[in-house]
């Protein structure tokens, strides 16, 4: 074990206490911080010394932050917490326009809202402080910080309970997308495998006093590809995407159904990663969480922009190991078709297979007339309908068949 320098803390360890409170505030803001990290942080501060504010910041940063996206939250909470022990008043000044007075409508910094909520949530104002403030009673309604428009759009999953929809969801939640495994570079013991496994051979031989009875063999282990789903949740797709999300939840929670990992993204006007939410066991809880995370439900669509965001920020993270991509959208996009085509091309290049499910295909005589669809169609490996249970069953049948192009050839001829 590493030798740790002895802690030299003052008699009344206020600093350790403060760090603990600070960690709790961070935890409320959504950073995963366990007690172990707090101990680390106190040790780190003891080691780095408490001389400069900057060193103090980076010492705590090294212990509490473990993801780049947490840096912003950390710096905001740090700023608010360590600036002044009576942070509450600062928060009041920042959040309530009436109290803010002269310094008008400064747009809140990124992360400030989360930091503010974390610091204020459940905090009882210190009675002594209130005396200081001439007994002012402070009321705080955190829900006011969420814009009315976002609230309106955050989704109520309860409303979609017509009989057919419920039954369709039940059927879909039983379905899986079976896929062909890939061959990994790792080896696994296999009688009659193509490679000799010297290590196991020797182990067996040494048990027999050096007598080699037969040569153990190995073959390549198989592994399962990842599935990346990018699902349009804009207004024109809403009825459809809700049901498809039910299906996705089933696929990402089906143990042993083949896929190594299922990553799910939703997009409308912006891209949201909802993978974490889909991992919840209960489908309603999962979709409710996804609904709050993706705040662009039933808004407009900017496919090109969102695919660009995906390609830039996520594709190298989630597609590294030959992922199959399922793109679910109607392709109705009024932005620049060339940019859209470029992003689609990039997406196709980085995926093992790009499958486009388009509910518009359910119409008889569908023709690729919309410019968005015309831009996207050449860059997909397969183009399929996905509006009914039957069509999803078809998808499950052909998803690992590299020869399958769905309706692509037919529609390409119409372009």
């Amino acid at each position: 074990m590493p030798e740790l320098p002895p802690l030299s803390l003052p008699e009344t360890p206020k600093l350790a206490q403060n760090i603990t409170h600070f960690a709790r505030a961070l935890r409320k803001a959504g950073l995963p911080i366990g007690p172990g990290r707090i101990v680390d942080a106190v040790q780190a501060v003891a080691a780095a010394g408490f001389t400069s504010r900057r060193d103090f910041y980076w010492a705590l940063h090294a212990c509490f932050v473990s993801k780049p996206e947490h840096r912003l939250i950390f710096s905001q909470v740090f700023r608010l917490y360590w600036r002044d022990p009576r942070f509450l008043e600062h928060m009041m000044a920042m959040l309530l326009p009436a109290v803010r007075g002269v310094q008008e409508d400064k747009p809140a910094d990124l992360g400030e809202k989360r930091a503010a909520e974390a610091l204020l949530d459940g905090t009882q104002p210190d009675p002594e402080h209130i005396d200081d403030e001439q007994g002012t009673e402070i009321e705080f309604d955190a829900s006011l910080t969420m814009s009315a428009a976002e609230k309106l759009r955050s989704l109520d999953f309860e409303q979609m309970s017509t009989d057919e929809v419920a039954r369709a969801k039940r059927v879909l939640s039983q379905m899986t997308l079976p896929v062909q495994p890939l061959h990994s570079r790792r080896l696994i013991a296999a009688p009659g495998g193509p490679r000799p496994d010297w290590r196991r051979t020797l182990r067996a031989a040494s048990r027999q006093g050096g007598e080699i009875q037969d040569i153990a063999r190995a073959k390549r282990r198989i592994r399962w590809p990842n599935l990346v789903v990018i699902c349009d949740i804009s207004g024109s797709m809403s009825q459809y995407s809700r049901i498809i999300l039910h299906f996705l939840h089933a696929v990402s929670n089906a143990q042993g159904a083949g896929w190594a990992k299922v990553h799910a993204f939703t997009f409308g006007t912006r891209l949201t990663n909802i993978t974490r939410h889909l991992a919840q066991r209960d489908v309603d809880a999962a979709l409710a969480a996804a609904g709050t995370e993706a705040q662009d439900w039933e808004g407009g669509t900017r496919i090109g922009e969102c695919l660009h965001e995906f390609n830039r920020d996520w594709s190298r993270r989630v597609m590294g190991q030959g992922a199959v991509v399922l793109l679910i959208t109607d392709g109705l996009d009024r932005d620049d078709p060339e940019a859209l085509a470029r992003e689609m091309h990039r997406l196709q290049l980085s995926s093992r297979r790009l499958i486009w499910l388009n509910p518009l295909l359910r119409w008889e005589g569908f023709a690729p007339k919309a410019q968005g669809i015309r831009a996207m169609l050449p860059h997909v490996d397969s183009f399929r309908a996905g509006h009914s249970i039957a069509s999803i069953e078809d998808l499950a049948r052909v998803i690992s068949n590299p020869e399958d192009h769905g309706e692509k050839q037919r529609l390409m001829a119409l372009l």
Binding site: A44, H61, A62, S66, W198, L202, A205
Partner: protein
């Protein structure tokens, strides 16, 4: 060499190795050394994550042991392996010599003589100069089972070999882990480490880095090069150029005897800074000139 006692000493030590580092990074490196904890560095490619380990090893006069991660990396190539062919020969020799002592043979077969040490095990071995620097590079390229395997090695600094028992490091190695974030690394591993996100340096620091790494470049050229690269990073590119690319590019320009940036020179050497065809086409034509003008404007004394 002794570990530094203050944050300033860390900074001086790294600077002496040509690694210009900011205060933030110096603080976490100092903590990693002082607390004996692994240091987990994330950041875009080419911001100098791997270089830190090299600079630290050189500065502390320790051995640098590098474990380059790849998909399918397993314990036998990361920790140890038995030298099977040599064992086989030993068995046959013993047979031919008529040695009958089976126990002695077995003890000999699984001894250090037939053990091939891989980076993790090497890092646990005592070293006359002190514990080595263990660089576990691009951890995001391995798969999760290997990450889980690292947990024991990184928290207790020990590895277990069934035939020999548990080998514990007399002094914990200085561990630096890097990741480009092509995928998320598990929280359990991150929790055992100090974390730092290595960002692109600001203008002043990047000029200092460039002068440390490409000292032949004139001050004027370095400033122009850095201003251009920094302006380029604000563009919407698929892969933004890192510090490594800045240094490469400056060396390219030096090799071509360029003393002054011009759109033509930039067009000829774009391959040194941009590594995606899409990005290069984007910068063709008047775009390079626009960015160059922008960079020059930012350099103008204000």
């Amino acid at each position: 060499m002794q570990k530094p006692d203050t944050i300033e000493q860390v900074q001086a030590l790294l600077t002496a190795q040509g690694y210009v580092c900011g205060r933030a990074l110096a603080v976490v490196v100092f903590l990693a050394l002082r607390l004996g904890r692994p240091l987990f560095l994330e950041g875009e490619a080419g911001v100098g994550k791997t270089e830190i380990a090299k600079a630290l090893a050189a500065g502390l006069n320790r051995r640098l042991i590098r474990l380059q991660c790849y998909e399918g990396l397993d314990a036998s190539s990361a920790v140890y392996e038995w030298n099977f062919p040599a064992q086989m020969i030993a068995i046959r020799t013993a047979e031919a010599a008529g040695a009958a002592d089976r126990g002695a043979l077995q003890a000999e077969l699984f001894s250090d003589e037939f053990l091939i040490e891989r980076p993790l095990l090497q890092a646990m071995r005592p070293d006359e100069h002190g514990a080595p620097v263990l660089l576990i590079d691009e951890l995001d390229r391995t798969d999760e089972p290997f990450e889980a395997f690292l947990l024991e090695a990184l928290s207790d600094f020990q590895v277990t070999i069934p035939e020999l028992g548990t080998i514990q490091a007399p002094e914990p190695p200085i561990v630096i882990l890097t990741s480009n974030r092509t995928r998320e690394v598990h929280d359990a591993l991150k929790r055992r480490c100090l974390y730092h996100w290595v960002d692109y340096p600001d203008f002043q620091r990047e000029v200092e880095i460039l002068q440390a790494r490409a000292p032949q470049a004139s001050a004027k050229l370095s400033r122009e090069v850095v201003a251009f690269v920094q302006a380029l990073r604000t563009e919407d590119l698929f892969k933004k150029p890192g510090v490594a690319e800045t240094i490469d590019w400056a060396n390219c320009l030096l090799a071509l005897d360029v003393i002054d940036l011009s759109p033509e020179v930039i067009a000829d050497t774009l391959g040194a800074i941009l590594k995606y065809q899409d990005d290069i086409t984007k910068l063709q034509g008047s775009e390079a000139k626009r960015i160059l003008d922008q960079a020059r404007a930012s350099l103008a004394p204000s």
